[in-house]
Structure formats: structure tokens, C-alpha cells
């Protein structure tokens, strides 16, 4: 498993690893979250954040703040950091970094396609897209009428093109199709990313395969829960699961036939790592599942920093920052809507 990457890693990756570890130390701590949760107004949040690394990004915002502004500026910081790292990176790290954004790209494609289906304004949709998943001709997605056109017109130029090979149909786009497309794309993306990491070898492969397997399993569970009670057949459902991960292949067989949440639970509890997640939930409940998964993910991502000389830290950092932005969004929303009692519901402490 271990090569001699420690010997040569620092030639190309050392500088950026140092940078990313420095970035990580700027993540908000539990003390910060405690202070943030006590805020009365959005201005208080701004004031508190101005003492953190978000300071320069928020200082020029005029005073009646909105949650969206805060989130936008925080995301901008992440994007700036990402761009800085990408500009400094050499192969294969640059490819690795690009892989991280493909997930956002898929989400953006789906967002625009769904939006145009419901005849929303393209500019408005573009503003909602995640800036990490932007590509040149994204606005042209609105022109496409079906999958084939989507592929032929726009996506053939993007890195997503190979993932499309499984879902090119001439069917018209509708909500169901789009959702299936998203999951098929995601499946292909995760498998591709997984293969790429395996090819890199060493500690990167080891750590990333763990993180990606967790991601794949979480998606499998989510797909199962979301497709309960829809017209998706068992075989179709089975096809959407990624072909790796802890659940592959026997867990998938069981998940594919699940008809309610308790069956999912039964299938998942056979796997020790997921047992602890499900044991926190009471029977029949799926609301808190997201948070439980997020907490588990954050724990695993933090562990990625315990080892040196691998690329997993970049992935982990990006994910942790995104989680932090989700936390900030939740806190600001709670503060803005005076729902402070619910503020702890969805905040996942990172440290």
C-alpha cells in the first residue's frame, strides 16, 4: 500500500499541503460557534466573523445584511482559496483539485436544467449556482430540450462528458429524468474519482477510498430513502448505486428492495461503521439522518489531516469549509428569523 511518497511528496505537493493546513487552522472552532449562536442580529454575526478569516470579505458590506450576502461572501473566500491552490498546483494534484469541483458542476447542470424546465430566468439561476461548479458555456444549457441535445451542445466540452455515456436518451427532460440523470452522473463521477485516486496510489488512495466510499454509501442510502414510494423500479434503483464502497455489492442488494425506512435501517445496521449512526436515531425517523451523516463525515474528514503526504487533505479541507458555510448559513437564518431555539439543530461542530 505505501510507496515512498514521503520521500518525494514535498517536491511538488509540500508547499500546497502547508498552505492547506494553514487554511485549515482558520476554520471556526467550537468557541466561535458558541459565540455565533449567541448573536442577536446579523450585524453581531458580521462583527464576530470580522475577527476571523472572513473579516476582509465582509468588512465592506453595508449594514442591513442578508443571509445570502454572508453566505455569498464566505463562499467567495473558499473560491479564492481554491483558485489560489489550483494556480499553484502541478499534475496530478491539479487534476485532483479539479475532480473536487465536478460534484458542484453536476449540481449546477441539474439546477439550470430544472430551472429552465420551470421557465425561470437564466440569470437568476446562474446566481444560484455554486461558483466552484461554473464552466464557460453553462448558460447555454437552457437551450437544450433533451438529454442528447444537452450532451451534444454543451456538455461535450466539459469534463462531465464521459459521465454522460450512460444516460443519453432522446427522452424529453422532466423532473424524474433529471433526478435520475443527476444520480447517474454522480455515480459515474464518484467511480471515476475513485479510480483516479487508486491510480495515484499510496496514502492518497488509502484515505480517499475511505472518504469516497463513505460518500458513495451515503448517497446510496439517500437514494433509497428518497425513492421509497416513487415509481422507480428496483432494478433502476440498483443501477444508481456506485459500484464501490462498504455496501457494495451485498448491501446494495438489500437496499434495492427496501420499502420503508426501518428496512433501510435493518440493512445498514449490519455494517458496524454505520451502526453507530443509526443507533442515534429512533425508529421511523429520517429527519436527523442528514445531520448524523454530516457529523460522521466531518469526523472522518478531520482524521484525514492526521496523516501527511497525501492529497486527501485538499478534499477534506474543501468539504470542511463547505460544511462550515452550511453552518454559518443555518445560524444566520436562525438569527434572521428569530428561531434561535433551533440553532443547534443543524450545526455540525468541526473542532
Amino acid at each position: 500500500m505505501y510507496g515512498f511518497e514521503a520521500l518525494t511528496f514535498n517536491i511538488h505537493g509540500g508547499y500546497l499541503e502547508a498552505i492547506v493546513r494553514g487554511y485549515r487552522s482558520g476554520l471556526l472552532t467550537a468557541a466561535d460557534y458558541n459565540n455565533l449562536c449567541q448573536c442577536e442580529t446579523l450585524d453581531d454575526i458580521k462583527m464576530h466573523l470580522s475577527a476571523t478569516e472572513y473579516g476582509p470579505y465582509l468588512q465592506n458590506e453595508p449594514s442591513p445584511l442578508h443571509t445570502t450576502t454572508i453566505v455569498e461572501k464566505c463562499t467567495l473566500k473558499l473560491v479564492d482559496e481554491y483558485k489560489h491552490m489550483l494556480a499553484q498546483a502541478t499534475e496530478p494534484l491539479s487534476t485532483f483539485l479539479e475532480y473536487i469541483t465536478y460534484g458542484h458542476m453536476i449540481d449546477n447542470v441539474v439546477l439550470i436544467v430544472t430551472g429552465t424546465l420551470h421557465e425561470r430566468d437564466v440569470q437568476e439561476l446562474l446566481e444560484k449556482c455554486h461558483p466552484l461548479g461554473m464552466f464557460d458555456s453553462i448558460a447555454t444549457l437552457a437551450v437544450a430540450q433533451n438529454m442528447r441535445e444537452l450532451y451534444r451542445l454543451v456538455l461535450v466540452d466539459t469534463p462531465l462528458a464521459p459521465y454522460f455515456s450512460e444516460c443519453i436518451t432522446s427522452e424529453d427532460l422532466d423532473d424524474m429524468n433529471i433526478e435520475i440523470m443527476r444520480n447517474t452522473l454522480y455515480k459515474a463521477y464518484l467511480e471515476d474519482f475513485y479510480r483516479f485516486c487508486q491510480k495515484l496510489g499510496g496514502a492518497t488512495a488509502e484515505i480517499m477510498s475511505d472518504l469516497l466510499a463513505f460518500e458513495a454509501d451515503r448517497r446510496a442510502v439517500n437514494i433509497t430513502i428518497n425513492s421509497i414510494g416513487t415509481e422507480l423500479t428496483r432494478d433502476d434503483r440498483r443501477k444508481l448505486y456506485s459500484n464501490f464502497g462498504l455496501l457494495y455489492p451485498y448491501g446494495h442488494e438489500e437496499l434495492a428492495v427496501c420499502e420503508d425506512i426501518d428496512q433501510v435501517r435493518g440493512a445498514m445496521e449490519k455494517y458496524p461503521p454505520y451502526q453507530s449512526i443509526f443507533s442515534k436515531l429512533s425508529y421511523g425517523e429520517s429527519q436527523m439522518l442528514d445531520k448524523a451523516f454530516y457529523e460522521e463525515e466531518v469526523k472522518r474528514l478531520c482524521l484525514a489531516f492526521e496523516q501527511q503526504f497525501h492529497y486527501g487533505v485538499f478534499f477534506a479541507y474543501m468539504r470542511l469549509r463547505e460544511q462550515e458555510i452550511r453552518n454559518l448559513m443555518w445560524i444566520s437564518e436562525c438569527v434572521a428569523q428569530n428561531q434561535k431555539s433551533r440553532v443547534h439543530d443543524s450545526v455540525v461542530f468541526i473542532f
Binding site: H48, Q59, N60, S63, V122, S137, A139, T140, L141
Partner: protein, 817 residues
């Protein structure tokens, strides 16, 4: 000893005496009092609310308001910068205004500006659209030329044939174009304008979307157009797309929208087009003047803001600092007074009291501000009053570590020793003069350079201008002693003491010269240059000199440790640290220095290496021919014994004595803790007096002492050796400059060719400037720095204090907000 104690205290020798003071300020005069203190800048407040987060503090709203105001001011600054105006503070600007008024005015100005910007942006948008329309009309019109359908066709064909990739497109187009004149074929077109950077992708997308059934023509638009979003001029390209069919039209329009291309319909008819062009042109000029007027108006508004901007920014910055400071204060029990604590120098006590009285008076407050001195367990901050000249030297010392409170300050000695040790390594009076000129230029422009922002390198150079001055002066001095001017010796102080053996001087290099008159009065005799024994002579001189300097400086360090111990009344340190250290160093290296001086004075041929080495190896044997003075052997044995005794002397007694003192102090004081807690009962809970816990851990103290002793004993040898860098660097410098002088300048001068001479001169001057003046200065500087930080300061300097940072408006800078 009496004499020393009675000397007047000098500012820099030890840091200022500080005191811990408590202020009780009535709420109504708090703001004014703090602002007056900020102007005075001599009180460092302690944060009494450390456990509170920023938005739980008392004056959080005011801080927020200040932050908001400074945001507005940044907005103005940004706007002024964007408009390309130079904000210059007006000399006789309007009278001071209150903060509240300023807030209102800022809000007004911001509102006004935003409105103006929005208006002009709208106008600019329309103007841009018209401008683009005009361009499209001009350029796209050339593609159409509808009146002569024949020429259009050929032009189209030509355009198509140039793109050979589109071979199947051609046939389709031709089929469509051939049947008749343009209008009947069903070919329609869309014209518009798009950013130049997007045009290729745009074309590709159109090609894909219409499956190649289109024709794309483009021409660069003449002028650049201002992009309102990014405020930059962008280049655009005019395009005309020919296509057929309604579905294609919808698709193309969507793609245009997605790419941000603006489409403008143009009539095919030439006369109509001319008419529209005329209309557009007239509206353009109309809009242009409106836009101009709007911009003018805005610039005027910005300029009037610009006059006041710096002042306002300072004011807001000060206000914010005041409220930040007020946030460090506590309310007392009655909630009518604010309680603050902080450090101030003792000499400033009356000044602060006067200031506070003034504040009370100006506020018409009935209650005065109470200022009283308390005692604190915390170690006070270190504060040196420096001036332009001494500041840089203090910085050099502080870079290693800030002095402990009231510790002897090495900066005083550094002022002379640092430039001197530098010069020993950099001795060349030609180079010294170059440095001197540089330093003088910096000092002459002090006022101008001090007020402006410099790059990091210039900043460093400027900060160290007085160090540079002293370094250059000492370099000239040392250069005169070494007798080197760009490595060339001069007969400044009379003629040489040596002459050739015969008139031809043929054997000067091999056999040598004869001394025929008195020794050269100052420095090195110029005749040594180039002689056979030049290097052995200079090396021996410089090496011995280095050791003398080193031993002297290290002795100075140990003596300073004596004054420190005296000052802090620690007789243990004097008896068991200072005395054995003195004995150890001087019995070995002090003796060596003595031998060097005796050898110089008597001109003896004794081998000092031999003397020193056999002093250890066989101390009881005679010295033979290396004997320098009577009783030397006996003295050596005594010195060796002293050195051997000195080691356990500095190692063992101190920790044991400390232990005895500690047990004595706490003997029979089983109830001591109760007593102390009683003492603290009547105090304010928020004072700085925390109970002081004094654990005595013998093994730790002993290990510490052991490390110290070993370090000193080994250090005595290695530090002395370390001073030999003075010789090494000085040798390197003179050899390097000799090489540049002889192998470049003289070599080039040997040719009778003007160009070669010029090249030689250029290479020589570049090498001198960059290698000798810059690199060598830097390296000599660093070595001098090391000799001070390590070899000198480790003898006495603990450097674990912290700096005095008073609350002062003068210290606020731009990057604070």
C-alpha cells in the same frame, strides 16, 4: 560602588520605571478622558473583559457605528480612486465636527453618491447600447449590401470557402442561396455584438445548435466599450448570423442571451439604415453630454469629499480606538463609574493627572477622575524612550527579545560595538565612503521619506539609516587602519617605512624589503601590499585582533551581568555566577589576550598556539623558547587551577543555597496561606493581584543551573572561536575586492582599447556595487548581528519581557481598520 549608585539614571541603560494604576472615571467624562489619554499616549490599558466576546461589551454599538462609518469612508476612497482623482487634504478645511454630525453627513454623501452612480450607470448603459448599435450598423451593414445581391453572394461564398472545414455547410448554403435574390430564399439574419473573448465559443455553439446551417460573419468593433459591471474597457466583436427557419431563430436568440451578446435589428434597406444611423448618432452625442455632465457633477462631489477624507478617516479611526479602549473598562458597583487599570511610566504620572483634570474640567463634571497607584504581581512592560538615532539599535536588540523589566539594555553598547564589529569585517575606506554617501542621502531626505510609504526593502534601509551612517563611519576608520581604498593602499600618513634593497627593485617580491625609517604612523604600511608576507602578516594581525575584541566584549557582557545582579539585589548571582565566570573566562582567554599584547609589545617570536596547547597537556613542563615573561609557568599553573575550580563553583552552590533559602522562608509558616488570603480580602475582585504560587522544584533548578554552567564553559571556547569570523570576513572582503580590482579593472586597463576599458570599468563598478557593497554589507551585517545576539547577549540578557504598548492615537495606522 557608592559612586556608581549615585550616578544619574540614564534613559536607555534600563527601561523606564513603570507603575500600575487604577482609574475610576465617571461615565459622563469617560469618553473625553480616554480621548485625551490617547493624545497623550502614555497609558497602556489592561483588558478587564477578556472573558466577554466582542458583542457583549458595553460600547459595542458605538464600535459598530464606527465600523459602519469607516466602511462608508472606504467606499468614498474607492470611488475617488476609481474616478482617478487625487484626494488632497485641504489646508484650511472646515472646523471640526462632532461624530454624530459626521455620521449624518457621511450617510448623506453616501446616499447622494449611490444615487448619482445609479443614474450615471443607467445612462452609461443606454449610451453603451447606442454605441453598440452604431457599431453594428456600421460593420454589419458592410456584410449585407442588399442592393447588389450579386456582390453579396460572391462575398458570402468567399467567406464560406475560407473556412474549408465547413465543406458540407457550403453546399447547403449554396443550395439555399442560389435560387434567387436574398429575400426570397428565406435566409434571415441576426446581427449583434459580443465580447471578443467569447466569440469563438459563441460561433462553435451556434454551429452545433443549428447543425452547421448558418453563416457567421464577424468584424472587430472599432472602439472599446466600457463594461459597467467591472468598470473596464472591453473589446467587442460585431457579428451577423445568417440562418433559415423559425426554430433556428429561437435557438440562436437563446444562445445570444446565454452568451450575453446584445442583438440589434438592422434594416436591410440602405437609406433606412442611414436614417437610423443619423438618429443614433444624434442621440449618442446628446447622451454623451448628459453623461459628461453627470460625471462632472460626481467628480465635483467626490473632490469636495476628498478634501476632508483624510481628516474624517483619522477621526473615525480615533473614535473607534476610543470605544475599543472603553470596552476594556469595567463598570463599578454603582454603575456610575468606569474602572480601568493599566500601566504607565512613573515620569508620566503628573502628566496623566493633569490630563485627567483637564478632561473633568472640560466636561463640567462634578466628580473628578480618581487616579491611584496600585501594586501588581504581573511583571511590568518594558519601555525605552528612544529617538531617531537610538531607535534602530533598540530594534536590533528587540528583534532578539524584549528586555525584562529594568534589565540592563544591551542597545546602549550596541550603538558603538555593532557598527564597529561590522566595520572590522568591512574595512575599506572606499567602500565606506560609498556607504556614507548612501546613508547621508537617506538622512538628508529623512523628512520626505519618513512621510511616504516605502517598499519593504527601502523601508528597511530607511529604518536603519543611522545604523548605516555609523557603520560607514567605522568602515572608513577601519579601512584607514587596513589601508585599503577599493583594495588599493595609499600613502596618506607619510611614506612607507620600507624600501627596496637596490635601485631596480627586482627582488622585492622574493627576498623582501628593508626597513629604513620609523614605523608607518597609522595603520598598515602600504608596502605590505603585494609583498610575499602580506597574507601571513595580515592574517596574524586580524586573527589576534579578533580574539582581543571578542574577549573584551564577552567580559563586558559578564560585567553587565554583575550590574544586573546588583540592581536586582541578588548577591547569590554575584558570588556564584559572576565571579566564577569572570575567573574562568579570563584565566583561559584573558591570559591568551595578555600573551598577544605582550608579544606585540616585545616583538617576541614565541609560538602562542604551543603555549596555549601545552598549558593543558603538560602544565608542569617548562616553556623553553616560548617563554614570554618571568614566572609564566607558575602563572599558568595557577590560572589552570583557578579555571578548574571555577567550574564546580558555578555549578553546585547556587541551587543548594536557593533550596536552603526556600525551606528557611517557609519554616514554621504552616498557617501562611490563611494569612495571605486575609490580606487579599479587602481588595477589588478585578485587580491584577493574583495569588502568586511559588513552587520550588529542586531538580528543575539544578538541571537548569547545570545547563547554564555547561553552556558557559563550552561557550567560552566556542564563542571565542566564533569571534574569528571577524578575521575571516575581513579577509574575504579584502581578497574579493583585490580580485575585482586586479583581475578586472587593471586587466582591462592593460589593453589600449577604449571599448575593453569601458567594459572592464562597467564590470568592475557593477561587481563593486552589487557584490561588495550589497552582498558583503548584508553578510557582514548578519555576522555582526549574530555576534551581538549570541556571543554578547547570552552572557547577561534574558530578554523575556514584553513591550509597553500605550493607547495612543499616533500609533494608529491605516491598516488598523
Amino acid at each position: 560602588m557608592k559612586y556608581i549608585d549615585n550616578l544619574p539614571s540614564m534613559d536607555l541603560m534600563r527601561s523606564e520605571k513603570m507603575m500600575f494604576a487604577q482609574l475610576i472615571i465617571p461615565v459622563e467624562s469617560a469618553h473625553r478622558a480616554v480621548s485625551y489619554l490617547g493624545e497623550l499616549g502614555l497609558l497602556q490599558f489592561r483588558d478587564l473583559n477578556e472573558d466577554k466576546s466582542p458583542f457583549q461589551r458595553t460600547f459595542v454599538n458605538q464600535v459598530k457605528r464606527c465600523a459602519e462609518m469607516s466602511r462608508k469612508l472606504r467606499f468614498f476612497k474607492d470611488q475617488i480612486h476609481k474616478a482617478g482623482l487625487m484626494p488632497s487634504p485641504h489646508p484650511d478645511s472646515q472646523p471640526d465636527i462632532e461624530l454624530e454630525e459626521l455620521e449624518v453627513r457621511l450617510a448623506e454623501h453616501e446616499h447622494e453618491l449611490i444615487e448619482m452612480n445609479a443614474n450615471s450607470e443607467k445612462l452609461q448603459q443606454t449610451y453603451n447600447e447606442l454605441l453598440e448599435f452604431k457599431m453594428v450598423l456600421q460593420k454589419a451593414g458592410d456584410f449585407l449590401v442588399p442592393d447588389e445581391s450579386h456582390s453579396e453572394e460572391t462575398e458570402l461564398d468567399e467567406n464560406v470557402y475560407t473556412n474549408s472545414d465547413y465543406s458540407d455547410t457550403v453546399s447547403l448554403l449554396e443550395q439555399e442561396m442560389q435560387p434567387g435574390p436574398s429575400n426570397q430564399s428565406g435566409v434571415k439574419f441576426i446581427s449583434g455584438i459580443i465580447c471578443k473573448s467569447k466569440v469563438l465559443r459563441f460561433e462553435r455553439m451556434l454551429f452545433r445548435a443549428t447543425r452547421g446551417n448558418m453563416l457567421f460573419n464577424r468584424a472587430p468593433a472599432g472602439d472599446k466599450i466600457l463594461d459597467t459591471a467591472s468598470n473596464e474597457m472591453v473589446e467587442k466583436t460585431v457579428f451577423v448570423v445568417f440562418f433559415s427557419g423559425e426554430q433556428a431563430r429561437r435557438k440562436i436568440l437563446k444562445i445570444c442571451e446565454a452568451f450575453g451578446a446584445n442583438c440589434y435589428p438592422i434594416p436591410e434597406d440602405t437609406t433606412k439604415r442611414r436614417q437610423i444611423t443619423r438618429e443614433v448618432l444624434s442621440r449618442l452625442s446628446e447622451l454623451g453630454t448628459t453623461l459628461e455632465a453627470g460625471l462632472h457633477h460626481r467628480d465635483a462631489a467626490l473632490t469636495s469629499i476628498g478634501f476632508q477624507l483624510t481628516k474624517w478617516m483619522n477621526m473615525v479611526r480615533q473614535e473607534k480606538a476610543i470605544y475599543d479602549t472603553l470596552n476594556m473598562l469595567n463598570f463599578d458597583v454603582t454603575k456610575k463609574c468606569l474602572v480601568g487599570e493599566g500601566w504607565c511610566p512613573v515620569f508620566a504620572k503628573t502628566k496623566i493627572q493633569e490630563t485627567l483634570q483637564r478632561a473633568t474640567f472640560d466636561c463640567n463634571s462634578q466628580m473628578g477622575i480618581i487616579f491611584h497607584v496600585m501594586d501588581s504581581v504581573e511583571s511590568p512592560p518594558t519601555y525605552f524612550r528612544t529617538n531617531h538615532f537610538t531607535n534602530a539599535y533598540q530594534e536590533i536588540v528587540d528583534a532578539y527579545g524584549v528586555a525584562k523589566y529594568q534589565e540592563a539594555n544591551p542597545a546602549v553598547y550596541t550603538i558603538v560595538t555593532f557598527p564597529f564589529l561590522f566595520a572590522v569585517m568591512f574595512g575599506d575606506w572606499g567602500h565606506g565612503i560609498c556607504l556614507l554617501l548612501g546613508a547621508l542621502i537617506l538622512i538628508a531626505r529623512e523628512k520626505r521619506l519618513g512621510s511616504q510609504k516605502l517598499g519593504s526593502f527601502m523601508e528597511m534601509l530607511f529604518g536603519g539609516r543611522y545604523v548605516l551612517l555609523m557603520m560607514s563611519l567605522f568602515s572608513i576608520y577601519c579601512g584607514l587602519i587596513y589601508n585599503e581604498f577599493f583594495s588599493v593602499p595609499f600613502h596618506i600618513f607619510g611614506s612607507s617605512a620600507y624600501k627596496c634593497r637596490d635601485a631596480t627593485c627586482s627582488d622585492a617580491r622574493s627576498v623582501g624589503l628593508v626597513k629604513y625609517r620609523d614605523t608607518y604612523p597609522f595603520g598598515v604600511d602600504p608596502s605590505w601590499r603585494g609583498s610575499r608576507s602580506e597574507l601571513p602578516f595580515l592574517n596574524s594581525l586580524k586573527m589576534k585582533m579578533s580574539i582581543l575584541f571578542g574577549v573584551t566584549q564577552m567580559n563586558l557582557g559578564i560585567i553587565i551581568s554583575y550590574f544586573n545582579a546588583r540592581y536586582f539585589n541578588s548577591s547569590i548571582d554575584i558570588k556564584y555566577q559572576f565571579v566564577p565566570q569572570m575567573i574562568f573566562l579570563n584565566s583561559l582567554f584573558g591570559y591568551l589576550s595578555l600573551l598577544i599584547i605582550i608579544k606585540w609589545c616585545t616583538g617576541s617570536q614565541a609560538d602562542l598556539y604551543h603555549v596555549m596547547i601545552y598549558m593543558f597537556l603538560s602544565p608542569f613542563e617548562g616553556l623553553g623558547e616560548n617563554k614570554l615573561f618571568w614566572g609564566q609557568s607558575v602563572l599558568q599553573v595557577i590560572l589552570l587551577l583557578l579555571a578548574v575550580i571555577a567550574v564546580p563553583w558555578m555549578l553546585f552552590p547556587k541551587p543548594f543555597i536557593l533550596k536552603r533559602l526556600h525551606t528557611e522562608r517557609f519554616q514554621g509558616r504552616a498557617y501562611g496561606i490563611l494569612g495571605t488570603s486575609d490580606m487579599y480580602n479587602d481588595e477589588e475582585p478585578d485587580s491584577a493581584r493574583q495569588p502568586h504560587d511559588e513552587e520550588f522544584n529542586f531538580s528543575e533548578v539544578f538541571v537548569h543551573q547545570m545547563i547554564h554552567s555547561i553552556e558557559f564553559v563550552l561557550g567560552a571556547v566556542s564563542n571565542t572561536a566564533s569571534y574569528l569570523r571577524l578575521w575571516a570576513l575581513s579577509l574575504a572582503h579584502s581578497e574579493l575586492s583585490t580580485v575585482f580590482y586586479e583581475k578586472v579593472l587593471l586587466l582591462a586597463w592593460g589593453y589600449d582599447n577604449f571599448i575593453i576599458r569601458l567594459v572592464g570599468l562597467a564590470v568592475f563598478s557593477f561587481a563593486t556595487a552589487f557584490i561588495l557593497l550589497m552582498m558583503e554589507t548584508l553578510s557582514a551585517f548578519l555576522h555582526a548581528l549574530r555576534l551581538h545576539w549570541v556571543e554578547f547577549q547570552n552572557k547577561f540578557y534574558s530578554g523575556d519581557g514584553y513591550k509597553f504598548r500605550p493607547f495612543s492615537f499616533a500609533a494608529l495606522t491605516d491598516d488598523d481598520d
